[in-house]
Amino acid sequence: MLCFMLRVFVLLGLLFVVPNLACSEDAYYIGPRVGVDMLKSPHLHAKVIHHLPRLMDVSVITKRRSWWKIKVMVDNISMQGWVPQGAIRKRYQAKSKAASSAMTSFFNLFRRAPSKRETAVLGVRGLDNEAKLSKANQASVEAVRWMEKLQVSDQAVSDFIQAGDLNP
């Protein structure tokens, strides 16, 4: 009887755990201890857009040989760029509440397999355009930061109102 119960438990375990592992969605992060530079284009000598620290979460957009195009959120602003494949580590997202629950595992049996979010490899001309766009994006992000840094003091506002004879 004990043996029979053990078999039931083993089968239950297989039903719950295996689909969960098989279907968990991949998340990526920066692996190297010193972090990695995110580049404008997939070349070693390309311009550095931003330095990404270790363990930073990234989303992979495109893979091109040993270079991966990724997207990160820096100061709540979305940035895209290229990093060497070796700098990216994969982790399973089994830590979310429902993903780890047995119910979800069972239900996952009936769902479609996760779709690979990979886009077609761009041609050289496309890459050039993308590089131009990322340059513009980077400049725009810097411009927004500059806007936010530009603050007018209360004293300056007060003087401005007084000089113009406006309503205090």
Binding site: A98, F106, N108, R111, N167
Partner: protein, 290 residues
């Protein structure tokens, strides 16, 4: 035989657990990046139905996050005019004074000049406001510049773009998914940015524009500028449209003549006092010389 029996019992247990789970609530959540999940969440489906009646709230903090990205898109389209920091500081002073006397004074407003000769202005969510170099060179005094800025501030105080986003199909995804998108970014947040940018470049509802004009009138009066400047700006815009310098504005805004008519009606309802004569033409000329 025992193995078959064990398999049968296991399946029975899991099936009943699954049925019990459905009756309790839902399964699965989206991943941390807010991208689409492959699991079904009954709670979200339920939320989807509820959305038919209620709008997903967007906090000030989330609005600013969205506004940053939309502002970056506006700048990447036109470029920012950094050649004249004095003028930028000047419009920040005017804009801040107006914003402090608006219906939403606690938000931090940021003003900048876009590097284009087209006559137009843009208000991104979260208080990021742009006027074009063309508009700066078209207006004749500080009150008129204030009128243009007050109109844009009114779009922010009335959350016109945010409301447009809230009513869009995009936000029918569910409150939790929207909240996740604001927190973690991801594909849904990118779509929200695109949606807000489209609203900005394709134009808001006509009623929103009329509403912003009427609010601008009140804000100008609150500050002490001659509120008739609002009418003068609209007259200038009409002239600029005729000579082809405000093509984009003409496409995205109602006709200036109809705006003036609506504004006259609004003026009667607002019961403002007699206008001041404060136009500050000399200060405007001095500060925008560069």
């Amino acid at each position: 035989m025992k193995w078959i029996l064990a398999c049968f019992i296991s399946l029975c247990v899991t099936t009943s657990a699954f049925a019990f789970g459905i009756s309790l609530g839902g399964f699965g959540v989206s991943n941390q990046n807010g991208s689409k999940s492959n699991t079904i969440d009954l709670r979200r489906i339920q939320q989807g139905f509820k959305l038919a009646q209620t709008l997903i709230p967007i906090s000030d903090e989330d609005e600013v996050k969205l506004g940053r990205s939309v502002a970056a898109k506006v700048i990447s389209r036109f470029g920012m005019d950094n050649h004249d920091p004095q003028s930028t500081y000047y419009i920040n002073l005017i804009g801040t004074v107006i914003a402090q006397r608006s219906d939403r004074p606690n938000l931090h407003y940021h003003f900048a000049i876009l590097d284009t000769d087209d006559v137009n202005a843009y208000a991104c969510p979260g208080g990021f406001i742009f006027i074009t170099r063309g508009l700066l060179h078209t207006v004749k005094d500080e009150a008129e510049l204030g009128a243009a800025l007050a109109h844009e501030v009114a779009h922010v105080t009335e959350r016109h773009i945010v409301k447009a986003l809230q009513h869009s199909k995009l936000m029918k995804t569910g409150a939790q998914m929207a909240a996740d998108a604001f927190t973690h970014g991801g594909a849904l947040f990118d779509k929200m940015i695109d949606q807000a940018t489209d609203s900005l470049f394709q134009g808001l509802k006509k009623s929103d524009e009329f509403d912003a004009d009427a609010k601008a009138l009140v804000y100008l009066d609150n500050v002490g500028y001659d509120y008739r400047a609002m009418f003068d700006v609209l007259t200038l815009l009409e002239q600029q449209t005729k000579v082809g310098r405000a093509e984009v504005l003409h496409k995205t805004h109602p006709d200036p003549v109809s705006r003036i008519k609506k504004l006259r009606k609004a003026l009667k309802h607002e019961h403002l006092e007699a206008p001041t004569d404060i136009r500050l033409q000399a200060r405007f000329a001095q500060r925008t010389q560069g």
